[in-house]
């Protein structure tokens, strides 16, 4: 019987009621009295020197309050970068200034040059059109490999387009090179991890609201981490102390990483609201969002895999060019390095690994974390090269993986790329997958497809990710400029209701439902007695927010810590009421009892006693029942799994159809299976989208060709099948109290190689032996061209 409440129950999401009735409160739904509207004047060229910005006409247009240019921000800081990577030579990365409005040069199509604040949105748009910008166009820096060598500079003052040249681990380079020299077989693959636009369905919005009365500011923004925005913007950009700055991220319509970062528009509206002494609202259009949201991925990689005669991996060597875009977004430098290089061991025992990453500035919008962030890039190249090696050596693709797995009895396993996996069972998830995907029936299905003139293929791969980000002391050594703990305050009210105030932020993940399940389990009260508050710096403790599949593993752990403090204190109160020793008090099903007796007191009575302390040990205990905890993880968590995809390829048109997709995941313990499965479904669709459909494409002049849904293909309902998902293989995390690993990114990390492996398999089986790789998106035209090329 599945549980109907608490940990392990598929409790229905309470937040759904407001979303299903139009009662959600997203940032754009907020309209403040007297608000003005901001519209940015954006660069239409990718690279150019600003000769002049003439705002005179615009200033005189109806409704215009002020036209801002970079001069209005001369006393303010730039948008800070939250991570400094040290290069192979031990030098810090090159770090350009990232102004709120462009200073001197524009560096990508969409770079903000000026901003009109007017009474109405349409008046602001009309006036923005009238701002006269004179730009001397410069050659656009687009090709990463060329840009890394020299030529035109994105940032003249830096003297190079190479942000950093990173080696990981530099000391293992020689041993890795040596292993390649003695290898029985070497498989090489050059590939592109396609650039993506995150495309949360809610475009970004920011409303700044300065109050003269309190000389304080409120920023409403579409953010995954309001406290981080408050810290970065307050301390580094606008010099506003935290106690004068409140950041609210209300209902947020999806993030996928793109709403982690501190964007210039947030600082703009906050500052502008003081200058015009009115609330200032900016709502991004989708077209603007394509140009200005931080993009994801965009790696160009050469990977080599050295094997012995039995297909055991001997060494891996990679060289990757990673696009940073024109400026460094908040976490950009960490993505191709510590979120990518550290995962190159995958689920396998490979003794020698060396990863080289060259991060390059180009005249494109900044690139930063997008669902999976670095780990999909690592997984894709590794699982593609393994598939290619298996084919070259004539070994079954599942067998070659099994042969190289870290075995269940080998945990904890120290990889050669710094991280140590605490637990896992990769044979188990592979066994599960083989059963789920009915691999035995594949040959018949292939024959049926062939009768229709279609080529059927099967792709299998594994993945591992490091999430639950992250141990602060470790990431500090690696260049993080922030801690990565999480926080929670658990407030118990006098009549026994519980409010959890968390630094985690829910923008689709269902925290308002899942977090109470944990509290309900711990205390034994109904879930409905627990409420979650998040998203407002004024009523939640300082927390780092939600990304990297960290909410339950890190934020949930903080909540458990705080709840344990509550329980310990409540036991003391109960002991007093029951005239017993607190060490003899047991809490079960919402009742405190003295062990071995029938004496008990219920949860509500203890809570009431804490707030009406008439019969209460005041000499030993403070009244009240409210605790805060901060939790800093001691290690990452390592969700892992095995995925299988079956496709049909139409050789006449090149169209790929996903016939089935199976995912066997190990997420450790699971709090709400329904929510976990939903997270996997969504991740799979994003991975399938990356594999088959999505591409952010700039032309050689830096114009974004895929700048709207007319050209950027989003996965639709008809592009995906019903998925088979399973999370019954559970090796609980050994170092957090819930034993959870996180599930938010797995689907997006694990699915692209399964899809591409399946397409290549279909073409190979169909006789197109010359096709050993197709870059993503594996679009119909690319498949057709590969067949006929």
């Amino acid at each position: 019987m599945p549980k109907d409440h608490g940990i392990g129950a598929s409790s229905k999401r309470r937040e759904d009621v407001r979303f299903l009735t139009g009662k959600g409160r997203y940032t754009d739904d907020i309209n403040l009295r007297g608000q003005a509207h901001a519209v940015f004047v954006r660069s239409q060229v990718a690279h150019g020197r600003i000769r002049s910005v003439d705002t005179a006409t615009a200033e005189g247009m109806p409704g215009v309050l002020k036209v801002f240019t970079s001069a209005d921000f001369s006393a303010k800081g730039g948008i800070p970068c939250g991570w400094c990577v040290t290069d192979r030579a031990g030098k810090p990365m090159l770090e350009p200034k990232h102004p709120i409005l462009a200073e001197g040069k524009v560096r990508y199509v969409g770079d903000a040059i000026a901003c009109v604040v007017a009474e109405t949105l349409e008046e602001a748009r009309d006036a923005a059109e009238a701002v006269d910008v004179d730009i001397e166009e410069l050659p656009a820096v687009m090709d990463m490999k060329a840009a890394a060598k020299g030529g035109a500079l994105v940032h003249d003052d830096l003297g190079s387009n190479l942000c950093y040249d990173w080696g990981f681990i530099e000391d293992s380079k020689a041993a890795t090179d040596a292993a390649f020299k003695t290898a029985h077989h070497v498989t090489t693959l050059e590939l592109v991890n396609n650039r993506l636009v995150p495309n949360a369905m809610e475009p970004r919005v920011a409303i700044g609201d300065y109050s003269q009365a309190g000389d304080d500011y409120t920023l409403y923004t579409t953010s995954q981490n309001p406290h981080v925005i408050r810290l970065l913007m307050g301390a580094f950009v606008l010099s506003i102390p935290e106690h004068k700055l409140r950041v609210v991220a209300p209902d947020v319509g999806g993030g996928f990483g793109s709403k982690i970062f501190h964007y210039a528009e947030e600082a703009f509206v906050t500052h502008a609201s003081k200058v015009v002494n009115r609330p200032v609202k900016w709502t991004c259009t989708r077209s603007e969002s394509f140009m200005t949201d931080a993009h994801g991925r965009d790696h160009v990689t050469k990977i080599e895999l050295a094997l012995d005669k039995d297909g055991h991996f001997q060494a891996i060597r990679t060289e990757t060019y990673a696009n940073m875009g024109a400026y460094l977004s908040t976490f950009a430098p960490s993505v191709p390095t510590y979120l990518h290089g550290t995962l190159m061991a995958g689920n396998y025992k490979t003794p020698n690994i060396y990863v080289n990453v060259k991060a390059v500035f180009t005249n494109t919008v900044p690139v930063d974390a997008y669902r999976g962030a670095g780990r999909p890039e690592a997984t894709f190249q590794l699982e593609r090269v393994i598939d290619k090696a298996a084919r070259e050596m004539g070994i079954d693709p599942i067998e070659i993986r099994r042969r190289n797995f870290v075995q269940p009895n080998e945990f904890p396993y120290q990889t050669p790329v710094a991280v140590a996996y605490d637990t896992g069972n990769y044979q188990a998830t592979m066994d599960k997958l083989v059963a789920m995907a009915d691999l035995a029936g594949f040959e018949k299905r292939r024959a049926d497809s062939a009768k229709k003139g279609l080529l059927r293929g099967l792709g299998v791969n594994c993945y591992i990710e490091a999430c639950g980000i992250a141990p602060s002391n470790l990431v500090g050594q690696l260049g993080a400029r922030a801690g990565l703990y999480e926080s929670a305050t658990v407030r118990v009210n006098a009549t026994g209701g519980v409010v959890v105030m968390t630094g985690s932020h829910s923008h689709g993940q269902g925290h308002e439902t899942a977090f109470p399940q944990v509290i309900s389990e711990m205390i034994g009260i109904p879930e409905s007695q627990v409420e979650v508050i998040h998203g407002d710096t004024n009523n939640t403790p300082m927390g780092m927010g939600t990304y990297g599949s960290r909410s339950l593993a890190v934020g949930g752990s903080a909540m458990v810590k705080a709840a344990n403090k509550i329980i310990n204190k409540a036991k003391k109160i109960a002991a007093h009421l029951l005239e017993a020793s607190d060490t003899d008090i047991e809490l079960k099903d919402g009742k405190f009892s003295v062990a071995g007796t029938d004496k008990s007191v219920d949860w509500g009575s203890v809570c009431l006693a804490a707030y009406v302390p008439h019969n209460y040990p005041l000499e030993d205990l403070e009244p009240g029942l409210e605790e805060t905890a901060f939790y800093d993880p001691s290690n990452f968590t390592y969700p892992a799994g095995a995925y299988a995809c079956e496709v049909e390829v139409d050789p006449e048109t090149g169209k790929v159809t996903i016939c089935s997709f199976a995912a066997a995941d190990d997420f450790g313990n699971v709090v709400n299976p329904m929510i976990v499965e939903g997270q996997v479904h969504g991740g799979l669709a994003q991975g399938i989208g990356q594999a088959l459909l999505e591409a952010a494409v700039y032309d050689e002049n830096g114009q974004l060709l895929s700048g709207s849904y007319m050209d950027y293909a989003m996965p639709r309902a008809g592009d995906v099948p019903f998925y088979k998902v399973d999370h019954s293989c559970q090796t609980p995390c050994t170092h957090n109290p819930l034993g959870v690993k996180g599930c938010g990114e797995a689907g997006a990390i694990g699915s692209p190689p399964a899809v591409v492996n399946a397409v290549i398999d279909a073409l190979q089986r169909g006789g197109h032996k010359h096709v050993t790789h197709i870059d993503m998106p594996v679009s119909p035209s690319r498949v057709w061209t590969a067949i006929h090329g």
Binding site: E122, S287, Y709, M710, S779
Partner: protein, 261 residues
Amino acid sequence: MHNFELVKPASVADAVAALGREDAQALSGGQTLLPTMKQRLAAPAVLVSLTAIPGLKGIKASGGSIEIGAATTHAEVASGAAKAYPALAKLAAGIGDPAVRNRGTIGGSLANNDPAADYPAAALASGATIVTNAREIAADDFFQGLFSTALDEGEIITAVRFPVPDRAAYAKFQQPASLFALTGSFVAKSGAGVRVAVTGASEDGVFRWAEAEKALNANFAASALDGVSVSANGMIGDLHGSPAYRANLVKVMTKRAVGAA
């Protein structure tokens, strides 16, 4: 978008008069025009909505032809023409998505002549007649390249008359993002012969594929096209496919249309 005055005339004559005003433009379903205006790529001063004009909507089938009012939505064609001209109804049912089909109109689509729109292929392959407030225009004369038609300024399409072929089908390969035709081929066979019209592929917009028509007139079977191909010269190349890829699709989609007809 720029502001404008929206007028809703109650007759074709009033609409023509309104379109005589400076910077006036006709508004039908608006499914293409509104996004264009949002990008400020179109900025009419007067928008003349045709939705309130009685008689511009509806489907009449008689004597081997079907006449569709210009303001008839794609959804209405999909259901209303299903008996009289199933291939056309099926084409209409595949335009955009359901919400777009509930607003977008056949007249609007033809007047816009988007090089990747579906209706131009149907009109051209069927040998349809475009009826305006002023005259009747044969489809062969109507389409004049990308977004360009034989319509004069201020001229309004009131209806489209399709002779119903003996056999017909439309095969479309969707551009995955926009759902427009990456290439679509409409094949129509009637007493007057076979006509093949292709949309989405050519830099000159919808076109008749003469070689295919010749081969199909000799033998109306998909295999008749085995030895026929279209040159990649003049085909559209973009991030969704090269000219050579589109040239391939022209053949593949035409064969599939013949197979389905």
